[in-house]
């Protein structure tokens, strides 16, 4: 079932450049478990889109199957949504993006949807560098079927059932880096201050942007022996450095801290500022990013923040040299060569 959020809003809610309050970016009431990390991520998406003053109808939100893939109902109610089949969201987004390059494609998936049934499509959408934001709501378990371990569950981690997971974990960030991803980040559903700017940066990136968000499952995987519990992640998360995101056109005000180590101008003109607290990671170097991920895994900590960014990313439309006008807007007269050409073809076949 779907339940609508009551229409009543505080009259003094802040509006963005388009005159919209945050309500314009919300969806139906969530039916996930109270305290689910996924709801916080939905909230971060709403905030990021509102603060970026995106037109809701110019966003398409797509998902696969699972708890995470239900969330698109709970944000961006004015956007077209597509809840596809299990593990196959990447192919649907690929087709959609080929048809209309002008929309912003937001894919939402889970660890089962991405790292197991959808691993093949995930790998290939990364390789193609499709221009999309791909958020994994990663809780290390299958919630809808009552808590089985997923392929991202750490070896030795135990969910509510109590058995330690005997298999090695798939690290989606490392996988994406290896497959050639051009934007790789990891975050925690409990850290909106980090997550919101990362989502904004991902939305401004031209090409494939992965955000792997650890998002604890309060019902099945928030145990003391789980490495995807709120407590464990809070205790073991180590941020790469803080991230500020300055949208295009917005003046750089005093709210931005001085002393950024890097300022990156994104494809749409926005500025991404990175304040690095540690000198162990160069986020513009794929090998450094991979090494940092492995080092943290070795230490049993979770590296969060922006892990890798390719400033010269070329997306699939660049590679295929498709028309700058969306393909779905081409007219019949531009598509159909008419009978005259057939006369020549027929003549060549006699």
């Amino acid at each position: 079932m779907s339940y609508q959020i009551p229409k009543f809003r505080h009259p003094d809610l802040p509006v963005n450049d388009l005159g919209y309050t945050k309500a314009a970016y919300e969806g139906s009431i969530s039916t996930l478990c109270a305290g689910c990390g996924h709801d916080s991520i939905s909230g971060a998406i709403v905030r990021a889109c509102h603060e970026l003053s995106l037109e809701p109808h110019k966003i398409a939100k797509l998902s696969g199957i699972g708890c995470s893939s239900k969330t698109p109902t709970y944000f961006l109610g004015k956007s077209h949504g597509f809840n596809s089949v299990h593990g196959r969201m990447p192919s649907v987004v690929t087709g959609a993006a080929m048809a209309n390059r002008d929309l912003l494609y937001l894919g939402v998936s889970g660890d089962g949807d991405t790292a197991s049934i959808g691993m093949g499509q995930f790998a290939h959408v990364v390789r193609r560098n499709l221009n999309m934001v791909y958020i994994v709501m990663n809780n290390g378990c299958y919630g809808l079927t009552k808590g089985q371990d997923s392929a991202t569950a750490d070896e030795g981690s135990a969910s509510k059932k109590g058995d330690a997971n005997p298999f090695s974990a798939i690290d989606l960030c490392a996988t994406a880096l290896q497959m050639g991803a051009t934007f790789v980040a990891r975050s925690f559903s409990g850290d909106k201050e980090q997550l919101v700017p990362l989502i904004k940066a991902a939305m401004s990136h031209r090409g494939f942007a992965l955000i792997d968000v650890i998002s604890p499952c309060v019902t099945f995987n928030n145990t003391a022996a789980s490495t995807k519990s709120y407590e464990f992640v809070r205790d073991h998360a180590e941020a790469t450095g803080t991230v500020d995101f300055v949208p295009m056109r917005q003046e750089i005000t005093t709210s931005s801290r001085p002393g950024a180590a890097h300022e990156v101008t994104m494809h749409d003109g926005s500025v991404l500022r990175l304040y690095e607290d540690a000198d162990t990671l160069n986020p513009f170097d794929r090998r450094s990013a991979m090494m940092a991920l492995m080092d943290h895994q070795h230490e049993g900590t979770i590296l969060t923040g922006l892990i890798y960014l390719d400033k010269n990313s070329r997306d699939l439309h660049d590679v295929l040299q498709t028309s700058h006008r969306p393909l779905n807007q081409l007219e019949e007269s531009e598509l159909c060569p008419g009978n005259k050409m057939l006369l020549n073809i027929n003549a060549s076949l006699r």
Partner: protein
């Protein structure tokens, strides 16, 4: 045994080794006959292999215009010792065996009831050419030259054709003509030409063309306005996307920017290919995929989504022999049931059955109109025989006054005038609802597409009555679809009869010929070619009007018959099966034989009486 005598009516088969360049020489032979005004139907029988295995090329010549396989071979042109024993056995009594006698024929293979003609092809080549590749390539051209003499072909037609074929590579023209002359001269000098079987120029092809179905289909997609093609390579469908790309590069480059007005994505598998088609179609582009049986199996889950969520989807299935990997380079019509009911749950899909390259083009283009109008998958079932062989066909025509039917799509202005948008609300009573493309309107028309149950506003629901209402609407839409899909083609024999044949796709030509044979024997049959599923009312009426209907198809399990029985709730007695599933196209002789097996005894008393008396033997 008197050697076979005929003019413009025979079957010749070339026995080659694949990867030796024989295909272009054999094409040259067939096309030369076509240019002499003779209906030809060349068929490649090739292995799933790149080099070194036996491959055959069978050409039927029929002045009467029978284009299906006749069955039997009158002449074998053999340059492959690997398959020689089998090839010699296949020749009709009185036929001809033409072979490379550089190495003498194994005496155990000799047949006294055929004419054996030796051409020292290897020897001629070794004497004439030094380069091993040239020796191999020109051997093929030399035997075409020899055949020209033996069959009395117009030599000038051949040399003109060579000139046409190598336009732009003029250096190659003269050596090829020389090779043709070598063979021609050798045959003239050593044999009494022509043979009992020969050709003479006729005027039986009119404005027809010689084209393979896959190329026609690729062109159909261009003309139908497809902009997104997503596919995974699989024989025998690969050349559909190849053709689409070839013509797209010609006509779909934006003159101003040089950018492409199309996108072709080679997917990681067939699941992704169909997912991309669904994503693109959902977003308002015309998109398609091409595949074969194994790909269709993989696409099943997504086809269920497209059916249930009502997303236009175009899928071209070039069928091959299944199940599983089956015989990947042999033909069959065996995906009928898998396509018709693809996916779990209650699903039914629209099928189109082309039988000629022209129809591949026409129905290929029409698929996009149908998919968008009907908001459901359109699956075209062609096959390897039609897709990969040059078939004689009516020329391709496009009506320039025709406009694409983009179906029920609401614009921003439409939405402004609408009080409330319901994606799955049947406003027109035809069970087809209005859709919107993403990004159309800032405040209206957004909805959630999903494979789970939902109400008319596209909101998730688990209410049984809402689900049931939606499923019933889809069934009602199935009735609407019957009005849109191509109607069958009926050929009445003009005499009172209560028997008929019913077939689809590439069984057409052989069926037509078999009906003629049987008619000469006093067995009159009406005929219907089904062109689409769901079956139109005409199909039901036609079956009703006949006591016995022979359903001719190229699979083991009588899949079309099963579909007819299921959809029309027919008992098992009325429809009799005529089947061929050995991987070769069904032949006219085979059809005739199977129909006769259903009708033992000669045809003295009216057949329907015999049938009513139960005098018809059933044989599977």
């Amino acid at each position: 045994m008197k050697p076979l005598q005929s003019v413009n009516d025979f079957v010749i088969k070339f026995a080659n080794v694949n990867g030796t360049g024989s295909a272009s020489a054999n094409n040259l032979f067939a096309k030369a006959l076509f240019r002499m005004g003779l209906p030809v139907s060349p068929k490649n029988i090739f292995p799933s292999n790149i080099q070194g295995l036996p491959t055959w090329y069978e050409v039927r010549v029929s002045e009467k215009g029978y284009l299906g396989r006749r069955g039997g071979v009158d002449i074998i042109l053999s340059v492959n010792p690997q398959s020689m024993a089998q090839d010699i056995r296949e020749i009709e009594p009185g036929g001809y065996f033409i072979y490379d006698n550089t190495k003498p024929l194994d005496l155990r293979l000799v047949r006294t009831d055929i004419t054996i003609i030796g051409l020292p092809l290897t020897r001629i080549c070794n004497e004439k050419y030094k380069d091993p590749r040239q020796r191999q390539l020109f051997k093929n051209v030399i035997y075409v030259g020899a055949l020209a003499a033996l069959l009395d072909m117009d030599f000038k037609v051949l040399t003109d054709l060579v000139a046409d074929q190598f336009k732009g590579k003029e250096k190659l023209i003269l050596p090829n003509i020389t090779a043709l002359e070598l063979g021609h001269q050798y045959a003239k000098d050593n044999f009494e030409c022509p043979l009992g079987i020969r050709v003479q120029a006729a005027n039986q092809v009119g404005d027809k063309i010689l084209l393979d179905g896959n190329t026609a289909l690729g062109l159909g997609a261009i003309y139908g306005g497809a902009t997104v093609a997503a596919w995974y390579p699989i024989t025998p469908s690969t050349s559909v996307v190849d053709a689409f790309e070839k013509y797209a590069r010609r006509v779909r480059i934006d003159p101003g920017t040089g950018r492409r007005n199309y996108a072709i994505v080679q997917a990681e598998d067939e699941l992704a290919a169909i997912g991309m088609v669904i994503g693109a179609s959902w977003n308002g582009a015309r998109a398609f995929t091409a595949t074969s049986g194994p790909g269709l199996s993989l696409m099943s889950e997504f086809l269920g989504l497209a059916y249930f969520a009502e997303i236009p989807t175009v899928l071209f299935d070039v069928q091959r022999a299944g199940p599983s990997t089956g015989m990947p380079t042999r033909t069959q019509q065996s995906d009928v049931l898998a396509a018709a009911y693809a996916s779990h749950g209650d699903t039914k899909h629209v099928l189109l059955f082309p039988s000629t390259p022209k129809e591949c083009f026409d129905l290929g283009a029409l698929s996009f109109d149908l998919a968008e109008r009907l908001q459901t998958p359109i699956i075209m079932l062609t096959d390897l025989d039609l897709g990969m062989n040059d078939n004689m066909s009516d020329p391709l025509v496009w009506d320039d006054s025709r406009e694409y039917d983009r179906g029920k799509v609401l614009s921003a202005a439409d939405l402004d005038n609408l009080e409330r948008f319901g994606r799955y609300q049947d406003s027109d009573g035809d069970a087809i609802c209005y859709r919107t493309y993403p990004g159309t309107h800032p405040g209206k028309g957004a909805y959630f597409t999903r494979g789970s149950s939902r109400d008319e506003q596209a909101v998730y629901t688990e209410k049984g009555e809402e689900y049931e209402r939606n499923m019933l609407r889809l069934l009602q839409k199935w009735d609407t679809i019957k009005e849109y899909v191509p109607r069958p083609e009926t050929t009445l024999c003009g005499k009172p009869t209560d028997m008929a044949v019913l077939y689809f796709g590439t069984s057409e030509e052989s069926s037509r010929e078999a009906v003629d044979y049987l008619s000469q024997e006093g067995i009159d049959l009406d005929a219907m070619r089904v062109r689409a599923f769901p079956f139109n009312q005409e199909v039901e009426d036609f079956i009703d009007q006949h006591e016995r209907v022979f359903v001719i198809e190229q699979n083991r399990d009588a899949q079309l018959r099963t579909l007819l029985m299921a959809e029309f709730e027919l008992g098992p007695d009325k429809l009799k099966s005529v089947l061929c599933f050995d991987g070769t196209p069904i032949s006219a002789r085979n059809i005739r034989k199977q129909i006769l097996e259903h009708l033992p005894g000669n045809n003295v008393t009216p057949l329907h009486r015999k049938i009513r008396a139960g005098g018809v033997g059933e044989k599977a």
